[in-house]
């Protein structure tokens, strides 16, 4: 019996619930370990005129203070380009930037020492918004253009044309475990790092760069993370790097662990984004032309912004065919944290712009938004089923999922019910919306689409499984165990899943882009195949068979298909293999085939395949306060042939709720000085259980095997986040019911305040008091 496809609990679930699962900062501290604490800048933009650290040494327990002079190698942790100074000496680029780090015997000593460090600044005017950056011509990276056809001409030819813009907030990752890194020097010039990082290889490379030593002297290990969501893809690096410098300088083990408000103040977030569009469309709601400018707030340094922006540009279309389209993108440079990867990696921002446009067209024409959505779906073959970057959607599942979720949710009936409810309620309105998701799977950067694994079988038949992916809660390790157990034909409990470590599998890609299971799964399977191929002849010899290819590995037994009753134990074969001097360890390797990207023309096949889903959400909005309640959610999502339905359902539910948080309540508030004011959970509100409705129904698309992917499965980490667009659109639908207007702008996040202003605007433009016209909602349903 194969374990792939089973509802296996998380491999660490027992450890999680009993408090035994260890995270980086939970380990037993080595003797002499020092702790670091940053001295942070109280300006968003300033010149540093003077740094005096001497007073810190007056604090008992302060060991040393790290400044730029202590950096043995390069003082820069930039990942795409070198623009991320680790110890700034000239300018401050964002509020809270760490200037120097104090090293103490304890965190308290380091903190008290940090209080004593004197830094003088000459404040400069900061750029704090996308629009200010555009006005100041403050950009970074390269502008990009993705186009098909001729949007300008098509706009002129369109029946109708509308111009508009939508701006959305970023999002703090709010992983429950803040950034943490430990560095342990061995005294011989080598460093063992334990880091809560999604990208151990990059952390290794950056530490080696900062220390000025070869990569092979640095080993980075990630035990597990208490959440990542993209926030530990590149952003773990600087903290590991300062700890490494402390270890070099003091010769002692060193640790950095950020407190929550430090983490929120210092680390990058989801990019806020401004979309400005011109859309052309027909009377029936067919979008014929689209011209969009996307401005992503990169923050103070480039970080991963270029691929984030690219993914936004490649997802503006979401599930919709737009014949003539031009998407331009730029990254603005502001005096804020350096924005970074976050579940969806720009895709959600692009799609929110797309859905905004669809809704705009629908309300302008007086059509239900879902009708306009349907009418614009990618469909058929050839051009109408090809994205604006030239990738044909060969396995288009949108329409199928759409009709399924509509049926599950009783969409048509509820449309009518809600219209009645709204007619009889003046102060409360309900809204209903359905939105699709089409999300491209693969790293846009082609070379990241490779993975490795290392499997070590010991003579007692127990096995260590290593692969390049990190575990942050997404269940990757669980899936890898299932893959390995199935591929090797043994029980899962035979394996020990090893912490991800760069000395086991080198040169790994970030565990990101939802690709962890796709890539590492194939590599694990490859290693298993190699081992099986070595063990089969040994088994055949033991059983006196001469056709090793006929052997079946199953549940810890090996037998011949022809004589299934004559079987032999896995460990017996292993022992014999050792005696026969057959290697019991193997690496596995995988690279995604058939993907390519031409950056010059922004055309190609960047994605191996697409993940699809659709969600229906219903909300009730209070006209006095702008508060809303999510009443019901129905989802159908495509995970291919699920490797683990329990894990996949968890990803869908968790992704949705996280997306809902982004779009409705998680508000990043910076003050006029550029200081993040919402820097703690008391002020930055992520959803609690009470924001999640009782009726929350998830269905996995059935018979959905994806060809060419590990056991027919599909990536699931990111796509479900975007299902939450249905909540934003349902809120808009409810707001619309407070009047009769052909345009319902709504800020993002749609906080109670934003909703109330939107309601007020609808009422004012309707020229009527609430509850007069429900024309939109009474229009025919489909």
């Amino acid at each position: 019996m194969t374990t792939v496809g089973q509802r296996k609990s998380h491999e660490s679930a027992t450890g999680h619930v009993s408090g035994k699962a260890l995270y980086t900062d939970d380990q037993r501290q080595p003797i002499g370990m020092v702790s670091l604490y940053p001295v942070t800048a109280p300006h968003a933009s300033a010149r540093i005129t003077h740094i005096d650290v001497s007073a810190a040494y007056g604090v008992a327990g302060v060991v040393t203070v790290l400044t730029a002079e202590d950096v043995p190698g390069e003082n820069d942790t930039g990942v795409i380009i070198r623009d991320e100074v680790l110890f700034p000496t000239e300018v401050i680029s964002y509020w809270g930037q760490a200037v120097v780090w104090v090293v103490g015997e304890t965190e308290t000593a380091a903190r008290l020492g940090a209080d004593r460090v004197v830094v003088h600044y000459e404040p400069l005017p900061p750029i704090l918004s996308i629009k200010d950056a555009i006005a100041a011509n403050s950009f970074q990276g390269q502008p990009l253009v993705v186009r098909r056809g001729d949007a300008t001409t098509a706009l002129q030819a369109a029946d109708f044309c509308l111009t508009g813009e939508v701006e959305m907030n970023g999002q703090d990752h709010f992983y429950l475990e803040t950034q943490a890194s430990w560095v342990i020097p061995d005294g011989e010039g080598n460093y063992q790092i334990y880091s809560s990082t999604q990208h151990p290889t990059e952390t290794q490379v950056i530490i080696a760069r900062v220390l000025g030593i070869p990569n092979n002297r640095v080993v980075v290990t990630c035990l597990r993370m208490g959440g990542g969501f993209g926030g530990k893809e590149s952003q773990a690096n600087p903290f590991a790097a300062v700890a490494a410098i402390a270890a070099v300088k003091t010769g002692r083990p060193a640790r950095v662990r950020l407190r929550r408000s430090q983490d929120m103040t210092l680390t990058g977030k989801r990019h806020g984004l401004l979309g400005q569009y011109q859309v052309g469309f027909s009377q029936e709601g067919h979008i014929t032309a689209l011209d969009v400018d996307l401005y992503a707030d990169g923050g103070w340094s480039l970080d991963l912004s270029p691929p984030v922006l690219l993914r936004a540009a490649l997802h503006v279309d979401n599930a919709y065919y737009i014949p003539d389209i031009e998407v331009r993108g730029q990254i603005v440079k502001t005096h804020k944290t350096s924005n970074t990867a976050f579940r969806g990696f720009g895709g959600p921002q692009g799609m929110v712009v797309g859905e905004e446009i669809i809704d705009r067209v629908a309300r302008f024409l007086g059509l239900p938004p879902e009708v306009v959505r349907e009418r614009n779906f990618y469909h058929g073959e050839g051009a109408t089923n090809t994205t604006h970057y030239g990738q044909e959607i060969f396995d288009n599942r949108i329409a199928c999922i759409w009709s399924q979720v509509k049926a599950n949710a009783n969409f048509a009936e509820r449309r009518i019910e809600i219209a009645h409810f709204n007619q009889s309620h003046s102060y409360k309105k309900r809204g209903l919306a359905i939105t699709p998701v089409k999300f491209g799977i693969s790293f846009n950067k082609t070379q990241y689409n490779q993975a490795g694994a290392l499997i070590l079988i010991y003579t007692d038949g127990s096995i260590q499984l290593n692969h390049g992916g990190t575990e942050m809660g997404q269940g990757l390790h669980t899936k890898m165990l299932q893959v390995a157990a199935s591929a090797l034909g043994v029980k899962i409990d035979r394996f020990r899943l090893m912490p991800t470590s760069t000395d086991k599998v080198p040169n790994t890609s970030a565990t990101a882009a939802s690709s962890g299971a796709d890539l590492n799964g194939q590599a694990v399977k490859d290693a298993c195949e190699t081992l099986k191929a070595r063990l089969a002849p040994v088994a055949a010899k033991l059983m006196n068979l001469d056709a090793p290819e006929d052997l079946v590995f199953e549940d810890g037994w090996i037998y011949s298909r022809s004589y299934p009753n004559d079987r032999i134990r896995f460990e017996q074969v292993v022992e014999q293999a050792y005696n026969d001097r057959v290697s019991l360890s193997a690496t596995g390797y995988y690279r995604t085939p058939n993907i390519y990207w031409d950056a010059a023309t922004s055309q190609g096949r960047p994605f191996y395949y697409f993940a699809y889903g659709a969600a229906v959400s219903e909300v009730e909005v209070d006209g006095f306060t702008g508060t809303f309640k999510l009443r019901q959610v129905d989802i159908v999502h495509d995970v291919g042939e699920s490797l683990n339905p329990l894990v996949d359902q968890g990803q869908i539910e968790g992704g949705f709720v996280q997306g809902m948080g982004w779009l409705t309540m998680e508000e990043l508030v910076w003050d006029a000085q550029g200081r993040l004011r919402s820097d703690a959970p008391s002020t930055y509100k992520i959803p609690t259980i009470s924001e999640v409705p009782e009726h929350f129904h998830v269905e996995l698309l059935q018979r959905a095997a994806q060809e060419g992917v590990i056991y027919g499965s599909k990536a699931v980490g990111e796509p479900p986040l975007m299902l939450a667009m249905s909540v934003r659109e349902a809120i808009r639908d409810a707001i619309a019911a407070f009047g009769a207007v052909d345009f319902v702008p709504l800020a993002s996040p749609a906080t109670p305040e934003a909703i109330l202003w939107a309601i007020e605007s609808v009422k004012a433009r309707s020229g009527a008091k609430s509850g007069v016209a429900e024309s939109l909602l009474v229009s025919p349903t489909v």
Partner: protein, 467 residues
């Protein structure tokens, strides 16, 4: 009160007696747990807002019996656990996983697992109270699961549990909180049991700070890392821990935790019920007290508007004697009160009678935050309207939080309302008065304009709901 300060505290953690010494009493329980190698309990925020640090504290419930109470260990000064029993996530698997642990494994209730110990302990506490539901984990944030699998786990253990060792332990443990005088790392912690001792300590130590549930002061320990030379805990003071109900009035001791008020007064004052429902989350309500909520004098404290609307009266005590004063006269300015040095809030009294000539009372409260659950108010409002037979307003109280430097009443509007009929027209006029009644500020939670709109709209909402 013991005059000699002890240099050692004892407490019971997971059934094991621990001796705590040479650490400041303001060290949080969470810090202590982690430093002593009990790293199963996590820090997600250190602010009381995420619940990752939740542990179960054996404490008296509203019924006077011991219960497991979920509390945030990041807000509890170690001094407060003296003589008490604590269970952490490491201490509840008794040979095999506890039912709440097994349920979470089964349903996939953990993904990254970092929030999980906190959820486990919230569920554990609720399990023995038969109150496993969404509300018991409202104070636990999870960023991974979207909560659905946790809800499924909860439903597996929602029915009443069997008799087991943990329930037995509740019955076998003494309920009384003894007195404590502890000195650690140059800081003193007193937990007297008599009001007279509190007052004497305040005389002796002019630099002393009162602490009740520490859900407000705890932020100073945990987040701001402030030290306090002398803390005087009110938790065990008999005169502050009572509730007295007659047909005329209700009197609530200042040190009574909100969860007791919730339980014991349910149905008595609808506006209080409603506000307590929206007040923080379970872990905080288990610790937070009425006296603390008034004592902090926060302009966004949620109970003052309710109490102002109900014309509550405070009793204060000091070495020179007792006095009473209407709550309305207590708040003097931003975080300033009429509390004199050496004075303690003893209790709060709320009349149950309605105005003479009135035949019915309408009263409700509202709290608007960015997030419905466990958020600080943007605006909180409480209304109390008494009507006579002709539906004329004979008594009006409109009290707000979040609109001025202190919790306040809209006295001008209250007076204007007197004698007016309770009709839509009156409300519309009152709304226009309300719009100019206060000049709220813009802050990170909401703009001044939004607040102004809420001040007026909430009153109309009240009218619509209570015509």
């Amino acid at each position: 009160m013991k005059q000699v300060l002890e240099s050692c505290l004892t407490a019971t953690i997971n059934g094991e007696t621990v001796r705590i010494q040479a650490i400041a009493p303001t060290t949080t329980l969470l810090e202590y747990l982690r430093q002593s190698g009990r790293v199963g309990t996590k820090e997600g925020c250190g602010d009381g807002d995420c619940g990752a640090c939740t542990v179960a504290l054996m404490a008296q419930g509203a019924d006077g019996k011991l219960h497991y109470q979920a509390v945030n260990s990041c807000l509890i000064p170690i001094g407060a656990i003296a003589g008490r029993h604590i269970l952490t996530v490491e201490g509840i698997a008794n040979g095999c996983l506890h039912p709440v642990q097994a349920a979470m494994v089964q349903t996939g209730g953990s993904q990254c697992g970092y929030c999980t110990p906190g959820f486990i302990m919230s569920l554990f506490a609720a399990y023995y109270d038969g109150t496993v539901n969404d509300a018991c984990v409202e104070g636990n944030l999870c960023r991974c699961t979207g909560y659905l699998a946790i809800r499924r786990a909860a439903s597996l253990v929602a029915s009443s549990p069997v008799q087991d060792v943990f329930r037995d332990r509740l019955a076998q443990t003494a309920t009384e909180l003894g007195e404590v005088s502890y000195d650690g790392a140059q800081s003193q912690f007193y937990r007297p049991t008599q009001l007279s001792e509190v007052l004497a300590l305040l005389q002796q130590h002019p630099n002393a700070t009162l602490v009740a549930g520490a859900t407000d002061l705890g932020l100073d320990f945990s987040h701001h890392r402030k030290s306090y030379p002398v803390l005087v805990s009110l938790e065990a003071v008999v005169e502050l821990n009572f509730m007295h109900q007659t047909t005329e009035a209700v009197e609530i001791g200042a040190a009574v935790p909100l969860s007791h008020i919730e339980d014991r007064l349910r149905g008595v004052f609808p506006s209080l019920d409603e506000m307590l429902y929206w007040f923080a989350a379970r872990q905080v309500r288990n610790r937070a007290t009425l006296g603390g909520n008034i004592g902090t004098a926060s302009p966004i404290g949620d109970l003052p508007p309710v109490l102002l609307a109900l014309d509550a009266e405070l009793k204060l005590a000091s070495a020179v004697g007792e006095r009473t004063l209407p709550l309305a006269n207590f708040f003097k300015g931003y975080r300033q009160t009429d509390l004199q040095p050496g004075e303690v809030i003893v209790s709060c009294k709320i009349a149950r009678t309605i105005a003479p000539g009135a035949v019915r009372r309408l009263s409700q409260s509202y709290k608007i935050g960015k997030r419905g659950t466990d958020d600080i108010s943007i605006v909180a409002a409480a209304f109390c309207i008494d009507l006579d037979e002709q539906n004329q307003i004979v008594h009006a109280r409109l009290a707000y939080g979040g609109v001025a430097a202190t919790p306040v009443r809209a006295i001008v509007v209250e007076q204007w309302l007197l004698g007016k009929p309770w009709t839509a027209e009156t409300i519309q006029q009152a709304k226009s008065h309300l719009k100019t009644a206060f000049t709220p500020l813009t802050d990170l939670r909401g703009s001044a304009e939004y607040r102004k709109l809420l001040i007026a709209n909430l009153f109309e909402k009240f009218f619509v709901e209570y015509p």
